[in-house]
């Protein structure tokens, strides 16, 4: 097997990689082209590159506002997910009456995709008076079953002897959770942060339903709104796209291993 030539594999993978990257390039090229974007044939390399479209975006739409909203909603979601899921995950490592019931409840909730609940979820949010508020935007995502199980698995992996040793040393239950369990479950925390970030940052449908005023819109909504009144006629739309994608991409490239692990953990468990 080893002495086989590898260049056909490289050729195949490079061409697939090119197909995967090409759409990015095409949009990036459009966003910095100085040309009229409807010239035919379209140029493959950007002619007369300039950042004007990016400046346009900055002045045409409240980008900072959308960005801030996204950051607030994601921040709330991430914080709530880490705290609530760690708590629930820890509770599930204990034995108590009704545990089977709780587990069954969680597993069956996992079968209900959020999209299948939007209408009553909207009505409930309305009844709670949370429409068009940060809390209303993030509350449904405050806890995720998959992430609870990620924490549970991680806590389960902490050796009992270690906990017993800590107890013998006279540490209280709380100190054990804070000083022993949580530091050892760091990868579960990373998974929680990444998954809840991705889900809340990219979420489109729920904000679309819950927000009323432009002041509360998050980035994906702002992008869709921009599209709806600009159509495809301006490079600014593509500049906006790049601006929206850049933070996520950078984060992904920086914490690549954690992302891949977290996302596949999220999927294999759910």
């Amino acid at each position: 097997m080893r002495q086989k030539r590898t260049w056909p594999i490289h050729v195949a993978l490079i061409s697939v990689g090119a197909v995967m990257l090409l759409p990015f390039y095409w949009v990036l090229k459009t966003s910095i082209s100085g040309d009229n974007i409807f010239t035919y044939p379209p140029s493959v390399i950007p002619r007369d590159p300039n950042p004007f479209y990016y400046v346009d975006v900055w002045y045409a739409i409240p980008f900072a506002r959308y960005f801030l909203n996204s950051v607030i909603v994601s921040g709330m979601t991430i914080a709530a997910n880490v705290v609530l899921n760690a708590m629930a995950g820890y509770a599930l490592t204990q034995t108590f009456r009704g545990k089977t019931f709780v587990l069954l409840l969680f597993l069956s909730c996992m079968m209900i995709p959020f999209q299948a609940t939007i209408i009553p979820a909207y009505l409930i949010t309305g009844k709670l008076g949370l429409l068009d508020s940060y809390l209303g935007l993030s509350l449904p995502m405050f806890s995720t079953i998959i992430c609870i199980f990620v924490y549970k698995a991680s806590f389960d992996a902490v050796p009992r002897s270690l906990i017993d040793a800590a107890r013998v040393d006279g540490l209280s239950q709380w100190t054990i959770i804070w000083r022993v369990m949580l530091p050892l479950a760091r990868s579960a925390t990373a998974t929680n942060v990444i998954l809840s970030f991705i889900w809340s940052w990219n979420n489109f449908m729920w904000p679309l339903i819950v927000t009323r005023t432009p002041e509360m819109q998050t980035l994906p909504l702002g992008l869709a709104r921009f599209l709806s009144y600009q159509e495809d006629t301006t490079g600014a739309l593509y500049a906006f796209c790049i601006m929206v994608l850049a933070p996520g991409l950078l984060l992904f490239l920086m914490a690549q291993r954690e992302f891949v692990q977290g996302l596949s953990a999220g999927a294999t468990k759910g």
Partner: protein, 310 residues
């Protein structure tokens, strides 16, 4: 609970500690349980109730039995159209998975730069779907989209194809964008499946004279079955719930050519304020999802995607 109370009254410190422990455990579970109750269980039940009623926000609810379902099944072409489109989207998942399987086999071979290839192919998965939809709208653009440019340069067609405004092409275009986004993700799952296959199986088969094709059919595919079905379940759930992609790429159009159940539910509820009827469609949608997941589980002969209960 009564038992616990009695025990607490008995006053033995050990027992009191166990009650305190139980309270702590339930206090830890309470916030999550409350959220699932509020945003999963309650909506599900409410949907079912609502689907048997005639109701709109300003009118009192009237029980109308199966009228909503009757209208949906017998008088609503849009419902059927979106149901078929949804099933079409689901059945495209295996194409993506097959592609990903090929890629995973290539990336799994011992070549230089496999990390780079893996990253490149995975890159599209964590992206914001709204932006992905806008990117692909631009790729499929009639006048200056890259795809039209390529097919015209190759003289495959003379006039540009208005992909997203065409009844034939719109749904396949959405499918292409969906596969593009999911491909790397399927690949990563299959890769982790491949890494669990012991190498010596291949060596043994090689000694027995099995060629590459036989090794693939007899060893790789059977042992990858759980990963492949996992991909299918995820791909299916992802495609039926890809509201953002359809909403931004085509808005369900042209006509209803790319309407799927989830976009139809949204439009019924929030554009036409027909919450009651939308609830009936939602219940059907949910039953469809459950049915397909169940079927996939049975076919895989195991518990794809199930959480191991200790």
């Amino acid at each position: 609970m009564i038992e616990a109370a009695v025990k607490a009254k008995a006053g033995s410190p050990a027992l009191r500690r166990s009650t305190r422990r139980a309270i702590l455990i339930w206090a830890f579970l309470a916030p999550s349980l409350l959220i699932f109750l509020l945003y999963r269980i309650l909506p599900l039940l409410w949907n079912v109730v609502l689907s048997f009623e005639a109701w709109s926000p300003l009118k009192p609810a009237v029980f109308i039995g199966l009228d909503n379902y009757q209208e949906m099944l017998f008088d609503d072409d849009v419902f059927w159209q979106s149901l078929w489109n949804t099933l079409g989207l689901i059945s495209s998942a295996p194409i993506g998975i097959a592609l990903a399987l090929g890629l995973a086999l290539l990336v799994n071979s011992e070549i230089r730069g496999r990390e780079v290839y893996r990253t490149t192919i995975f890159l599209s998965y964590p992206l914001m779907t709204v932006a992905v939809a806008i990117i692909w709208r631009w790729m499929f653009d009639e006048r200056v989209g890259l795809i039209n440019y390529v097919v015209r340069s190759l003289h495959l067609v003379d006039t540009p194809i208005p992909f997203l405004n065409s009844f034939t092409w719109a749904l396949p275009c959405v499918i292409v964008a969906n596969i593009w986004q999911m491909l790397g993700f399927y690949m990563v799952i299959i890769l982790s499946g491949l890494q669990t296959i012991p190498r010596n199986l291949y060596e043994a088969a090689g000694i027995d004279g099995a060629n590459a094709f036989h090794r693939f059919i007899r060893i790789t595919v059977p042992l990858l079955k759980p990963s492949l079905f996992l991909c299918f379940v995820i791909g299916m759930l992802n495609s039926v719930t890809s509201f953002d992609l359809v909403y931004v790429m085509t808005g369900g159009g042209p006509g209803r050519a790319t309407e799927i159940l989830i976009t139809y539910i949204y439009k019924l509820g929030f554009n036409q304020t027909r919450f009651d009827y939308a609830a009936a469609v939602t219940v059907t949608f949910f039953i469809l999802l459950l049915g397909i997941t169940y079927l996939a589980n049975r076919l895989s002969g195991g518990n794809a995607g199930a959480v191991e209960r200790d």
